[in-house]
Symmetry: C2
């Protein structure tokens, strides 16, 4: 077990140890019954005091993550209902446990595809809202005209026709680029990963919003970066706090989701976008502008992309098509300039020699046609109806002490519970009724706020959404009233 | 420019600096005209003596890679005919040059897809030899039955039906695994990359064959590994040398292509396979068994896979389908066991949330049918004819001093030139006549042997193969006779 300790951040060392172990447990990387290093060994390995490790272990034991057995040691005690994979490894693979890895966290995947019937945990689109039949017919035409698409490698940078089409498409959303500055990736996730593997290494400072997209935390943690966080309010990242932070540290990368922020749904104002770019220019940082769903706005168009204001190559812009068109094709793009672009392209080559030609050619006819814009119009309407349904149900049925931010676009709704109520606990109750959502803890680098949860209203139809939100409200009512009855809440 | 210096290997420090700079130039990452750090700065940065850096720079200048300008500094001087990308970056992106990256080498991509008419440089299959029309019809059927495949994420581990089918397919080649222990990847390249990112970090020792697949060197160099090499002879990796090496160092990973080795075509004997596995077991190392094309044998079936003898989870087995079925789908698999498998799966999630469902479902009907085996039979025959053609032409037309290994399978032929003749130079001449091949230098970690080249006979039809080998032989004749005429060769 490799634990990265950062000494130049404000998080205490014992909290960092605590968090590293929780991350591995929640990622399924430390499994039930596995023995942890002794306090003495871990303190020696990390060069920290015995007290620091003891404090971390005590906290973990208090929270029910680990258990100490007198005379035997300390073991992971996974809560049974968390359904961690419990494959019994035969004894003959035991040697593998001593093989160190560079994988401190992989939490997002565990909430991505889950068996529960009412699935509000991933921001995926209901397949019923996507133009599958049309795409299918276009794939058929395209392949019967040129079946060799199946037997050819595409360009590593991505199919030239698709890059042209994406260039035109992005122009419509005020994201200026050129086909030469577009790199096709396997979804935005790969875009984030390419930037991280190319530019981030141990000790490099990365700034992320708190909360943020868990899949991005997984990636940057895996590069051993020193991650600093900046809170988000209704106008997006608190750029004033970022400015203060940059006076002390020089971040190499600033990762942001400015439009319909994941998970909070907030939209960064134009003013803050400009300020953010100014800061990046003044300290020569790279901004990753992750833009999964700015097309899905409910009222007015969001402000111009940061990329549109970037004249010196500071912005690496990411756009995925899995949220709007064809998740089964896993197509995203990275738009960047100069030597930053060239290096990302080289990294893509090392990673997988380029995305499959078939998936790229499959979405091409649709992206190239006016149908894409018509489809987006319909998608906005459909998702707005679902959002409104959720908002209405919450207003009617949620107990006092529960609040939420009304998203003006995107796929997610961020709900805050009373501060004493851990959404991981609520999730356990929800799963018993075939409901899942994303617990807020997954969206934070360090678990300081566990009283939030993210509900995605994009995947379930209205009937299941109705059932899901009703179940959620019932659970919250019951948790809050039992706390009231016990009289120990600070809120009542 | 980040240069990794390894102090526990037998390669001199100045040679390491020399190689790092060549790698970046050959990868297009250090472009023409870029200024190198001063001798003083580099020696300080790396903690080596001035003499060490001077020696490296002198050697680079002698070889024509860099040039020193009195009073101005040292600059990269790329040979114009090497066609490095020469995009003029506007001045406004200049700040980007100071952004350090973790990408020391990306050479393979530069030989992968090239514009030359007679393309012998990539081991790709002639699309005319692949069952495109049949696949196309199956894709059509599959999508019209279930167009939602386009709008659904697949399982991160890979589509369950495909994992079942691959399990059955591999069983036919004596590679025992289970659907649960198979992870679907975007080609074998991603398989190599997943293992590297999960288990290899700075200072970890990786053993590779010399020569080996350049795309694997790119990946392991990118992880900052200490790479040690073991030569290959006609019976595969020299396991006796590996044994000696393991007495001093403990490799974490041993990367091998035992069957129809890339680039030499050699086949590791069953005895050496057993010895290799014994070594890995005795020192608790992981073997990566990269198996791109054991299906393509010309005479007898190759020996059993190392994976088939592995009872303790030491072997991570990689199989790609881009060499035999559908490069446009980029499907490969990783087979592993125990916690090593679980960690690779988590890494895959962080990388791209899983390969596209469309490409996985597209090859499924074919893999599932007897047609796959019939297709392989035909492919073996067709490729054998092409190999024989190349061998015949070489026997007839190549000059004295040129030798080669007869491949018993696979896609490649490894040719050795007189030791004074640099195949990079031959490549420059070849390109003038629209011919490319892979220069041997790309297959070595350190350029000690530049007198080899790899010819792939799988991509060009017989007419173009004929032209290509004839051109190659003519160039070799002319190089060797001009050397003879100048009388300075040690060979004549």
């Amino acid at each position: 077990m490799q634990i990265d300790i950062q000494r130049n951040v404000e998080i205490s060392l014992s909290k960092q140890i605590y968090q590293s172990i929780i991350d591995r447990i929640r990622s399924g990387l430390l499994q039930e019954g596995v023995q942890l290093p002794s306090v003495r060994d871990l303190s020696k390995q990390l060069g920290v005091s015995l007290v620091t490790v003891v404090k971390a272990y005590q906290e973990l034991e208090k929270e029910g993550f680990i258990t100490s057995i007198q005379g035997r040691g300390t073991f992971v005690k996974v809560k049974k209902s968390e359904e961690v994979d419990k494959k019994e490894e035969t004894l003959s693979y035991d040697w593998q446990l001593s093989v160190q890895d560079y994988l401190p966290r992989s939490q997002f995947a565990r909430f991505h595809l889950v068996p529960e019937k009412i699935h509000l945990s991933s921001s995926m689109i209901d397949p019923g809202l996507l133009p599958n039949r049309f795409l299918e017919q276009e794939v058929h035409k395209m392949l019967s005209n040129n079946p060799r698409i199946l037997s050819q490698y595409g360009e590593i940078q991505g199919d030239a026709e698709l890059r042209n089409a994406m260039h035109e498409y992005l122009k419509g959303f005020e994201v200026p680029t050129t086909p030469e500055n577009i790199l096709v990736t396997s979804g935005s996730q790969q875009g984030i990963d390419l930037v991280a593997r190319t530019f981030v290494g141990p000790g490099d400072v990365v700034v992320m919003e708190a909360p943020t997209y868990p899949g991005a935390i997984d990636v940057f943690r895996g590069r051993g970066a020193t991650i600093l966080t900046v809170p988000v309010d209704k106008d997006g990242m608190r750029v004033d706090i970022l400015q203060n932070l940059c006076d002390k540290h020089k971040p190499k990368i600033i990762y942001t989701i400015p439009t319909f922020h994941n998970p909070t749904g907030s939209v960064m104002t134009l003013k803050r976008r400009r300020q953010l770019l100014d800061i990046a220019q003044s300290i020569q940082s790279i901004i990753i502008e992750d833009d999964p769903c700015s097309e899905i706005y409910f009222d007015k168009k969001p402000p111009a992309s940061i990329k549109s204001m970037d004249h010196h190559g500071h912005v690496i812009y990411l756009k995925g098509l899995s949220k709007t068109l064809a998740p089964g094709c896993r197509i995203g793009i990275v738009a960047a300039t100069g030597s930053i672009f060239n290096r990302l392209l080289a990294a893509k080559a090392n990673t997988d020699l380029g995305s499959p030609l078939l998936t790229q050619k499959s979405i091409l006819p649709f992206i190239n046609s006016k149908r894409m814009l018509d489809h987006l119009k319909k998608l906005r309407t459909a998702l707005r109806i679902r959002r409104d349904l959720v908002l209405e149900l919450l207003s009617q049925h949620s107990p006092d002490g529960v609040s939420w931010v009304i998203p003006q676009g995107g796929l997610n709704l961020w709900i805050s519970l009373p501060s004493w109520l851990d959404s991981n606990h609520v999730l356990l109750e929800a799963k018993k009724q075939q409901l899942t959502f994303l617990p807020g803890s997954a969206c934070f680098l360090v678990e300081q706020e566990n009283n939030h949860l993210r509900v995605s209203y994009s995947y379930m139809n209205e009937l299941l959404l109705h059932q899901g939100i009703t179940i959620l409200c019932n659970i919250l009512h019951s948790e809050i009233s039992s706390k009231k009855a016990s009289g120990s809440s600070p809120y009542f």
